[in-house]
Symmetry: C2
């Protein structure tokens, strides 16, 4: 198949996951539901990550949770304003990859792509692991089975996404609303109560192993930055909004920022006041839940809502990564099959790739959120930085009215996210961030090697040149047969209409069977020569390939025509065809002949 076709087919439809008409597009509130769950649900692990770092300096150090959170909230504010400008400049959905490709050149776009891949995989794994932890907070007996829960959840998500989800904002409305109400309820009720009404989990003895120094604060900050992941999703999804889409998307981004900031600061206030330390078997969020709602049914309900929100947040990666991979395939930076969609509008290969990567990572870290936090956020901050820097370039190039002010705003955003990214990397390097430092360049190398391969292929195919005139040869069509049946007849008939000469070939080990076959062939007398290859103890495939190879030596155009049973019902598909497929595969790998398959349609 040729390249022009490829590019055409691979072009993703924008908007990708919503209908065409304005009716199916999002209002601001619907956009919040559809695109912000990833960001909002990170309050389930962000504050906890801060607490887990600070506790190394003893329970007293937990008072530092609030200032650390305030710094993160300030960074959030800059990001939100800055992304408001990204939305205005890239109303077609400026993912970091698209922005980098347009404004910053191929190398930076490779960096953006690699970090996005890492980020999407980690979003799935961190969300699933945090969701499982939340579930186990409600049902402690699930505590020892976190990995199993994560893998089952991953299998469900994969199955749903392979079938293709008609994901609508309406489906996400309710879980998002429940989540926001639950968390804000915890904050408001918790602060009103003055002290926690219930305590859950088993206490750990806390030994302060280090002092509360600058390094520990920086570490807490970088762990807490995991709460900022997902803030970019709205900017990527601008085309899904109803007109005026830029205004609506900007409003949604502001709402997301306000809500996320409120939640984070509120939770930090509660953590400080109640001296919430890590306890066995429950998450920090579960402790805050019990403190505000007690341990009755609202406790269980909230934990379930958090689990659901996190599972849906994991699902957003299944929307995002396969599309990104299809874009990379369109740019010849990933194998072209990542851009293929069959009858369903789903990039199946991308879904499968994401599922496999997430599974490996979950098993490798045994579904422990805290072992993934150091890897997380780095990819996201690379994406943040690339988007901001790209925008600075854009302003400097286009120079619209007020460009200097705008460039300054994005510039501040870029500086802050770069600084934050460097802090993240430096403080978390030995705890796992080095993995990201190794993987991102490897991915970039992979992308560029694949691109080089496809360029070479294009050259070898002589794209853009006029090929020599055609020369036509006679043809010989070989039909492998096993016995005389209607299937055989069907195959020979097709072969006779295609070939100048047709020959049937049977491979047999048993002389008695050969005699039977020859007798029924003579009785039928189809007017086609039958060659029988003796193959004692050998497989069907080997001697047939040998035969075909010899036949192809004569300079004629040789075709092998494989008659195949095609069941009427899909469910029988697995029971047929696989043998012909194997023969076709081996012939294709080892000979240069034309391989044809002629289907014989069954009535069952």
């Amino acid at each position: 198949m040729a390249y022009g076709l490829a590019r055409r087919e691979l072009r993703p439809r924008v908007p990708l996951r919503h209908g065409e008409g304005d009716k199916y597009r999002l209002t601001s509130i619907e956009g919040l539901a559809a695109l912000s769950l990833d960001a909002l649900s990170s309050v389930a692990y962000g504050p906890e990550a801060i607490v887990l770092v600070l506790i190394a300096a003893g329970t007293g150090a937990l008072t530092a949770t609030l200032p650390v959170t305030l710094v993160i909230a300030a960074l959030l504010a800059v990001l939100v304003v800055s992304y408001g400008q990204v939305i205005a400049v890239h109303p077609d959905g400026g993912g970091a990859y698209a922005v980098a490709k347009k404004d910053l050149g191929p190398s930076v776009s490779l960096l953006a792509a690699a970090s996005l891949v890492v980020d999407y995989v980690l979003t799935v794994t961190v969300s699933l692991a945090a969701g499982a932890a939340s579930l186990a907070s409600a049902f402690p007996s699930l505590g020892p089975h976190l990995l199993a829960i994560c893998l089952i959840g991953l299998a469900l998500l994969t199955a749903v996404n392979l079938r293709g989800v008609a994901e609508s904002a309406r489906v996400l409305m309710l879980p998002t609303a429940l989540f926001v109400v639950s968390i804000l309820g915890i904050v408001v009720l918790g602060l009103l109560r003055g002290h926690p009404v219930a305590v859950v989990g088993t206490a750990h003895p806390v030994h302060a192993t280090e002092g509360l120094g600058v390094l520990l604060l920086l570490k807490a900050f970088s762990s807490g930055c995991s709460a900022l992941t997902g803030v970019e999703a709205i900017a990527n999804g601008v085309p899904s909004f109803r007109d005026p889409r830029v205004r609506r998307a900007q409003r949604t981004e502001l709402m997301l920022g306000a809500l996320l900031g409120l939640m984070l600061i509120g939770m930090a206030l509660l953590i400080r006041r109640d001296e919430v330390a890590p306890r066995g078997g429950v998450t920090v969020l579960a402790q805050l839940t019990a403190g505000a709602y007690g341990t009755g049914w609202p406790y269980y309900a909230t934990n379930l809502i958090v689990t659901l929100a996190l599972a849906l947040a994991a699902n957003t990666s299944f929307g995002g990564l396969p599309v990104l991979m299809s874009l990379l395939a369109r740019d010849h930076r990933l194998p072209h099959f990542f851009g293929l969609r069959a009858e369903r509008p789903v990039y199946r290969w991308g879904v499968v790739a994401l599922a496999l990567l997430a599974m490996l990572l979950l098993i490798a870290v045994d579904a422990d959120t805290h072992r993934m936090i150091p890897l997380f956020a780095i990819g996201v901050f690379i994406g943040f930085s690339v988007s901001q820097i790209g925008l600075v370039r854009h302003w400097a190039g286009a120079r619209p009215p007020g460009w200097l002010r705008r460039a300054a705003l994005n510039g501040i955003g870029a500086v802050l996210t770069v600084v934050a990214g460097v802090v993240l990397l430096a403080t978390k390097f030995l705890e796992g961030a080095w993995v990201v430092v190794v993987i991102i360049p490897l991915l970039m190398l992979l992308f560029s090697r694949i691109q080089r391969y496809y360029t070479e292929v294009g050259r070898e195919l002589g794209l853009g040149e006029t090929p020599p005139p055609l020369s036509v040869a006679d043809s010989l069509v070989i039909v492998p047969v096993g016995e005389v049946s209607r299937l055989t007849r069907h195959g020979l008939q097709a072969a006779l209409s295609l070939g100048h000469e047709v020959v049937a070939v049977a491979v047999h080990a048993d002389p008695a069977k050969v005699r039977t076959l020859k007798a029924s062939w003579d009785r039928w007398d189809p007017g086609v020569r039958l060659d029988v290859i003796d193959s004692p103890r050998r497989s069907l495939v080997e001697p047939l390939v040998e035969y075909v190879r010899r036949a192809a030596e004569g300079g004629r155009q040789v075709a092998v025509l494989i008659p195949e049973v095609e069941p009427l019902h899909r469910r029988y598909q697995l029971l047929q065809n696989q043998r012909g497929l194997l023969l076709a595969t081996v012939l294709r790998a080892r000979t240069d002949v034309v391989v044809c398959v002629v289907p014989y349609r069954l009535g069952l």
Copy 2:
């Protein structure tokens, strides 16, 4: 592809996993190494399973370990003698499935097949889980990660077996010898010492929840029967022995029985004397190891040897189940592709199926050996019973000299294994054995439904009838093209040699591209008509299928010829071909035309 061929190709070579010459066949000792690790390694979980049941009646009840073990050892003795006769009657390797098919008819053979499938899967999962537990006994920090360890081990086994293992007895010699020496060393040294030299693990408080009644003893017996799994492996592998193979195999079976019996009774003596109760974080075998060797390096070495032996025992299923599935495929009871081998002598589909089933089960029970013990052994005892009953039938039919004595011996074996099987089922029913009771009939139903389907297909294809004479039509060959290139030329050339009429078809969305294509087509002027289908916003596949469908309405023989890039190096395979494969798949599913692929071989 036709059925005669199928049968030929699917016949497994006997011996399957060893060379042809006598040099490659096994002596008795080598046979013990190659075929008995599955049985021997079950001492790592069998005695533990007894202790875990008896402890319900308090530590005092552990004295019952010895009598229960003696009953199991007596059953082992009967099985060993009885299997000596199986070996004599079925020198070609009488797995329960083959025996049942020959002597007991199709329904019983389905039962045998279903129980063997269950048994093979459980051998993998129980061995891996017990191996992980043994590893965690040596390295307690691995304790919380048993599932992850099992899944990693499973992935390794799967990868190795997909490549095909040149598994030789010599490779297994050393681990088997080390294992036997280690366990016998524990028994001998432990008994000589008079008291344990070290205690490992954390003590559990023991609350007696029931009295030591008959039911508890029966439960302990049925749990302990898991130690007998694998005794049948030597009888299945008779063809692998050097001549006189029957005598050698019988000798090996006796050696296995003696060794296994010694180990079991010796361990029971130690458990009774030292009142070994379940302790946290370590296995019973690890406790006995510490008791005999102390906690120095021999303790770690023994635990590692046990882990290795269990991993290799899990590997035996990867030798067994894919072969059984290929036999079932040959009998049309599983999809035929389970009988396919490509270039490597490996039934890949069977390996993949086993890996998936084992993975699901491990996740479902979270790699807990004790939750799988109730499911285990039932399948094995069905196999035992079927083999014995089949042999009784055989003696009664053939009536050789002394047949009555022989029939009586197998009859006793049959009665004992049936009784044991019923006890197993009854005592373990609610603890999980019901799963097996549900799954085995479902598998039998699946096998017979598949068989019925294939019979129907044979009827519809008119196997054994003489088909009507051939009638030949004119042909139209359609070549999908994307642009003008050497690939396009290659495809058109092949098409011209095959078709009476040839037409090139391009699908394009972009009018500019269409103009370019038409211009370069005219410049080239290959003498073939070019049709361009407009497809704004639609995929390549849909409009092409529509076009082909309309062309096929005329009564002509229509063929679609897809020119495809075939890279020289295997590693580039993934980067090509997938798009043509998709088009071919959709065409095959939705039209009745001939689908041809013509490879264009690249230089890279």
